[in-house]
């Protein structure tokens, strides 16, 4: 890198322009801002002393990333709520990059030239989408996260453009997809077009830094830190800061003054009202490890929904010991606990009542306006009681996506992602002995406690029902092939009381294809009408004398009443004899039947009949039969005709009913789980609406 050396016109000291793209240089001796001209340098003003903003970076540091660069300049800006550093990185060949440093985070951007599609500053609003040229020549859709006016506080080293010290600049910070970051720099021309800068957040390690400021590279310096112990400007009490490099506001534990510690001398802004009823559940300064990350509790604030008594507590958590790893938040709301970390606004897609982030879909819960009503401890932003925020929440199972729009003079739109925590796990992490409070409602993002069990049982159900169905089919096929079937066609005797001569005894038959199986005994009387038939039966093993005794019966009644047909009973019946071994068998059947039509009332027996002992007595003669359907005149009496019936034996009957019954039993547990899970979701919806 060729170095141009010039002489400061104010004090005569040598000033160096290390980068060909540098346009301005600050004399390190007299703080004059010197602009490079064709011939020499021109003094354009004076630059104030650098503000005490701790940083790991310094002039002269080199990095091997991006083909090699040198930190040749720094700009300090203040937007009224804090001062931050912006570093000018000079690359080989005249190219350069900006590295913005704020609250321990770094944003590396490259200039993309005028953004002609950007509207005038007055038309920009939070969440506005802007098309910005990407660094690779493509087009990026980015969203406005902040619109501010900043003042140049100080500078050192070289800068790539002329800046008027103490001039005000207007700018908008953008958030884009895949964690891209951008800035629209309107400078002193709010009508535009602004100069665009596009890049992304980086980890310092990515820059592969070495060296320090000075003519010779040094070993990397330790970061300058503010004093961890300070004095309250109001009561002189000791203020012990746990995150001294990040804390901007602290509440004095002695006099409850809200102290601004962002710069010397410290300022007591106001005295907060003490609320003795509020005790931090997680003590300030306590530490815990959550989700593999170490945290330290720095501060506590309470937000209340305007116009409502509903509130929640937010604990500011420093990642690591002192916040150099950033800040997360622990929200406590009526027994529900959520761990919140910043989300990248540019990666939140969608509109209306739905948002998508990191592959998950979130549904809108509500939008509320909140106010800070209580403060205690340390805070890495310029918080105050009365700070107002518009919060829009979206939920997904286990997660809460929040879009927060600050309503103060330093408006910005930020996104955060909350993860629902198990209260017992949280209390154990903080070594709290007491039991967590029981929630009184279901939080929108509270995981359904029955879902896991339901998914498990549903998964097992399908893994079990399929084999059951396969077994049923396999056994049905086996029985169709190998079962033994025997059929007997029998009949009752008309007009005769059942007696010994009506006992049926079959010839011996073999049941032999299956060594042991159930026997299905099926009795059917297809022409049975308003009557009944019973059998007492025995299947007798002709070899060892074992007799399987059982009974079966059929009855069927039908009629018309008030113009409507009715029927009851069945013309067939089945009895299963379990575990019958193969062998030679004889079937003994002892039937019983009514001689005359069964009845309960005289009216059922016709105009000429009467009901006696449950049977119709109706006289008839050969010349005047006058018997009903299914009857015949025998002697002088109407009697039932002979009833044909069939008996079928199946050795190896398929037990369908057991298969279906077991299938229903298997279904019971996942069905109950589903009902519980569904009921929980119904209550969640009711609580969200309520």
């Amino acid at each position: 890198m060729r170095v141009k050396v010039a002489r400061c016109p104010e004090c005569g000291a040598d000033v160096q322009f290390r980068s060909a793209s540098s346009v301005l240089c600050v004399c390190s001796y007299c703080r004059s801002a010197l602009a490079r001209t064709d011939v020499d340098v021109e003094k354009i003003g004076k630059v104030g002393l650098l503000a005490d903003v701790p940083s790991l970076l310094s002039l002269g540091m080199r990095g091997s990333a991006y083909g090699g660069f040198t930190i040749v300049g720094r700009l300090q800006l203040d937007f009224g709520a804090g001062t931050w550093n912006e570093w000018y990185l000079a690359l080989e060949g005249g190219r350069w990059l900006w590295l913005a440093e704020t609250q321990g985070r770094y944003y590396l951007t490259t200039p993309v030239g005028p953004v002609r599609s950007a509207p005038p500053l007055s038309e920009l609003h939070l969440g506005h989408s802007v098309h910005v040229p990407g660094p690779d020549g493509g087009d990026l859709v980015m969203y406005v996260a902040e619109v501010h006016q900043a003042r140049i506080v100080s500078a050192e080293g070289e800068l790539p453009w002329r800046v008027d010290p103490n001039e005000g600049l207007s700018y908008a910070d953008l958030s884009g997809p895949r964690r891209t970051f951008g800035t629209l720099d309107y400078g002193t021309e709010p009508a535009g077009p602004p100069t665009g800068y596009v890049g992304r957040e980086v980890e310092l390690a990515e820059l592969q830094l070495v060296g320090g400021s000075g003519p010779e590279p040094e070993r990397a310096r330790l970061p300058a830190t503010r004093a961890a112990r300070m004095e309250c400007p109001s009561c002189r009490g000791a203020l012990a800061l746990r995150a001294p490099d990040s804390t901007l506001r602290v509440v004095c534990p002695f006099c409850a003054s809200l102290v601004d510690v962002s710069q010397e001398p410290l300022r007591a802004l106001t005295t907060l009202a003490r609320d003795r009823t509020i005790t931090p559940r997680f003590a300030l300064g306590s530490q815990a490890q959550l989700r593999g990350t170490p945290y330290r509790v720095l501060g506590l604030l309470r937000r209340q929904i305007e116009g409502s008594s509903f509130f929640w507590d937010e604990y500011v958590l420093a990642v690591g010991q002192d916040g150099r790893g950033g800040f997360h938040y622990l929200i406590e709301s009526d027994g529900h606990f959520t761990l919140v970390r910043p989300a990248h606004l540019g990666d939140v897609h969608g509109s209306g009542s739905t948002r998508r982030y990191e592959g998950h879909t979130f549904h809108r819960v509500e939008q509320v306006r909140t106010t800070v009503t209580y403060l205690d401890g340390e805070f890495p932003w310029e918080v105050e009681v009365g700070e107002a925020t518009l919060v829009e929440d979206f939920w997904a199972p286990g997660y809460l996506l929040s879009l927060e729009r600050s309503l103060g003079p330093h408006a910005e739109l930020v996104a955060s992602l909350g993860e629902y925590l198990d209260a017992h796990e949280l209390f154990a992490a903080f070594s709290l002995k007491e039991s967590p409070p029981r929630p009184t409602y279901i939080a929108p993002h509270q995981p359904n406690p029955y879902r896991k069990g339901y998914e498990h049982r549903k998964h097992l159900f399908w893994r079990a029902i399929v084999p059951l169905a396969v077994l049923m089919v396999v056994f049905a096929l086996r029985n169709a092939i190998m079962s033994t079937r025997i059929r007997f066609d029998l009949s009752t005797a008309a007009g005769a009381e059942p007696a010994a001569e009506h006992i049926f005894l079959s010839e011996p038959f073999a049941l032999g294809k299956l060594s042991r199986a159930a026997v299905s005994f099926r009795l059917s009387a297809p022409t049975l009408e308003n009557s009944w038939l019973d059998v007492d039966a025995a299947l007798i093993n002709d070899e060892d004398g074992t007799a399987y005794q059982f009974g079966a019966g059929v009855s069927y009644y039908a009629g018309v009443e008030d113009g409507e047909a009715w029927s009851e009973g069945s013309r067939s019946a089945e009895v299963i004899l379990p575990s019958v071994p193969a062998g030679r068998y004889v079937l003994r059947v002892e039937p019983s039947w009514p001689v005359s039509r069964p009845c309960s009332f005289n009216s059922e027996c016709g105009p000429l009949g009467s009901c006696q002992d449950g049977q119709c007595l109706r006289s008839c003669s050969a010349s005047h039969p006058s018997c009903g359907p299914g009857e015949t005149c025998l002697g002088d009496r109407c009697v039932l005709q002979a009833l044909p019936y069939t008996i079928e034996l199946y050795h190896g009957a398929t037990r369908w009913r057991w298969g279906l019954f077991f299938g229903l039993l298997m279904l019971a547990a996942p069905l109950v789980s589903w009902l519980r899970m569904h009921h929980f979701e119904q209550r969640r919806q009711e609580d969200m609406v309520g």
């Binding site: 097992l460 004398g545 037990r655």
Partner: protein, 72 residues
């Protein structure tokens, strides 16, 4: 976002009360079909050899009636 908790290993999924219940039902069904398991609808008796070899045989043997003389 944190990924959901990993499911338990497959070999342990069946070792839950519900899993064991399903396994038992499958075994029961297999036994019902293969061995003809079931509940006896009536008593099992043994007919003496003397009855089987008598002239009337089973016809005259008085079995226990189950009392199904029903109808309406």
């Amino acid at each position: 976002m944190a990924s959901p908790a990993a499911p338990p290993p497959k070999r342990t999924r069946w070792l839950t009360p519900y899993g064991l219940f399903c396994i038992v039902l499958l075994i029961l069904y297999g036994g019902i079909e293969l061995k003809g398991w079931g509940f006896d609808p009536g008593p099992r008796t043994s007919v003496p050899m003397s009855v089987r070899q008598s002239p009337g045989g089973y016809r005259s043997y008085h079995f226990w009636h189950r009392g199904l003389h029903g109808g309406k």
